[in-house]
């Protein structure tokens, strides 16, 4: 049984992916048990205490004390982005495995610092990039890898969310992380060059960051990829923060694969609401399950530090492109 410490109930802005995503997945995961929680600070103390009471586990005062607990095998990290790299490295140094909210860190330099620590203290580190494990994406990846469309030469992606809180960092560092990683997973190719267009179309505050990003990426072998991602305003009948368009179209030398990553879902309509409940295990459950298998069997996790590093290299080039207004090379 894997003992899990829930570290933090926070994230970028008002995010609490621990409560919304990881806590339910850990509770449902056979072979894992939440043994303690620890807040990231005063801001999520009340949430941590409430969760601890509900689960009947201790709420630790400090991370160091929580990491000293021998019943903790793995830390589920959902602390504010500014603390994330430090918490991840502290957990690894303490000999714990880690599942870390995305993005893994605030900068590429922080990711490299994590890599250095991980090399000295080998543990399972799974960055939470769950969409590559969504069932239609897994199937698409297998179809591509078996040559169903021939040699891919272009991917188009849409990742649109309606409503919810705009990430104070801008959505390039938040929503865009997901499709950047999925394209990497689908193609198995490294990005070489990035051009970015951003906008703020739905949020009026004068200093609001981007809520729209178009990433135009050149990959190895002349493959091109385009990602449109946005957090739009709220839409009627859509729960705030829901994905409303999540698609990947892969064009290859011998065919086209059109992936609606909103599948597989049911369509349910009632007098008062419409919903699309997922069919089968969702991507977060798949991520947690894969993490557990990696911890217990030693198998390589399906997403790891190198994948997070690739995401951050793309983001690093993207931020440089925003500054220069031109395509910028991805550092290797």
């Amino acid at each position: 049984m894997i003992g899990v410490l829930l570290a933090g109930f926070a994230g970028i802005g008002d995010q609490d992916h621990q409560s919304a995503m990881y806590l339910p997945a850990w509770r449902a995961q056979a072979g894992a048990r939440i043994v303690a929680v620890v807040p990231s600070g005063a801001g999520d103390l009340a949430t941590a205490q409430k969760v601890a009471a509900e689960l009947g586990v201790p709420c630790r005062d400090h991370l160091d004390a929580a990491l000293a607990d021998n019943s903790v095998d793995l830390v589920s990290v959902a602390v504010p982005l500014a603390q994330r790299a430090d918490v991840v490295t502290a957990a690894v140094r303490a000999g714990k495995h880690v599942l870390a909210d995305k993005p893994l860190a605030a900068t590429l330099d922080e990711v490299e610092a994590i890599a250095t620590v991980l090399a000295a203290h080998p543990r399972v580190l799974v960055p939470a990039l769950p969409h590559r494990l969504a069932s239609p994406v897994l199937s698409a990846r297998a179809a591509l890898a078996s040559g169903r469309v021939g040699l891919p030469w272009n991917v188009q992606a849409d990742f649109l969310v309606a409503g919810g809180s705009l990430a104070p960092t801008g959505e390039l560092l938040n929503l865009a992380v997901h499709p950047v990683d999925v394209l990497h997973a689908l193609l198995g190719l490294d990005a070489l060059r990035v051009h970015v267009r951003r906008g703020n179309y739905w949020h009026d505050a004068p200093d609001a960051p981007e809520d729209f990003v178009a990433l135009l990426i050149d990959y190895d072998n002349g493959v091109t990829g385009t990602i449109a991602t946005a957090r739009t305003g709220e839409l009627d009948g859509v729960a705030p923060g829901s994905l409303i368009r999540h698609r990947y179209r892969i064009s290859g030398s011998h065919g086209v694969l059109d992936v609606n990553a909103g599948k597989p879902a049911l369509s349910v309509r009632t007098a008062s609401a419409a919903s699309s409940p997922w069919v089968g295990a969702g991507p977060v459950a798949a991520l947690v399950d894969a993490t557990c298998r990696a911890v217990t069997s030693g198998a390589k996790a399906p997403v790891g530090l190198d994948d997070a590093r690739h995401v951050h290299r793309v983001l690093d080039a993207a931020y440089r492109s925003l500054g220069s207004g031109r395509p910028e090379g991805v550092t290797t």
Partner: protein, 337 residues
Amino acid sequence: MSEVGVLVVGAGFIADSHIRALTAQARATLAGVVDVDPARAAAFGYAHGNARHGSDLAEALTWPDVDAVIVCTPNDTHVAIALDVAAAGKHLLVEKPLATSVADARRVVDAFAAAGRVVAAAHTHRRYDYGIAVRSVIESGAIGTPVAARLSILGGWIWPDWRAWVLDPERSGGHSLHNGVHLLDLVTWWLGDEPRRVYARGRRQTAGELRIYDYLEMTVEYARGGTAVCEMSRAHRPGSFGYRDVLVAGTDGLIEQGWDAESSLLFTEGGLAQVPASGGDAFARQLGAWLDSFDGGDPVMSPDDAVLAVALGVASELSIERGEPVELAETFEAVRA
């Protein structure tokens, strides 16, 4: 207004669509056909009610019942023909692009302004059902201010063989000018904003020896901050592939039209096929607007917009060549100089 006599110049396949539009209404009639190939002109004339035919444009422009001209010739011939039509005092509907350079496009528009005659470029997608429907929703205010668009028109039909003039960039201006302008114009019309910058990527997918890009991706930035990403392809496989996808995001909502939104799906032993819904005739609508504009009616697309479409296409080709974004102002510099 009495019945308008229309001369068709260029008897290739797109002329058939214009002829069908002509024969479907009563305000205009086919006055004759001109083609550089006399035999093709004769065959075309024979097939369309023994219409008068010839291979000399100057002579045809003197035929007494010619009031207006529809030009369906290769893109690099548009300018010279258009200037002759303007000099003859006839109205003109010319296949897109209006010209293959901004300077030439401007010359044509100026010549028709001086002659007091109408010139229009056949940007037919503004008259397709989907083009009109999207614009209508935007005009209704339902999605607020349109800010971002995605338009993909993808096919697998490459031109017949290496003799196709479209494959020669000197003749077609490149794929951005030949087909790309449809999308560049349409998204600009939908967004209702001034394009400022183009970043394009092109690919020679069907054959490495191609001199045009059979796949284009063109990203346009607008003055008020809007963004459009357009894909135009003749590069996809299978060859029967036909796929159009529309997304327009506004400050208050979204418009989407998926690839199968206008079709029924037919499942047979041969696989899956689309059965498109019976729709309006874009060429007929285009012809009607053109005829209306002779008397001051709304031309749907202004001559300045036709010049702008050329500038966007030129910027796209330039951006692919450079691998960097191109300011639209740069494409107008030759005109100002």
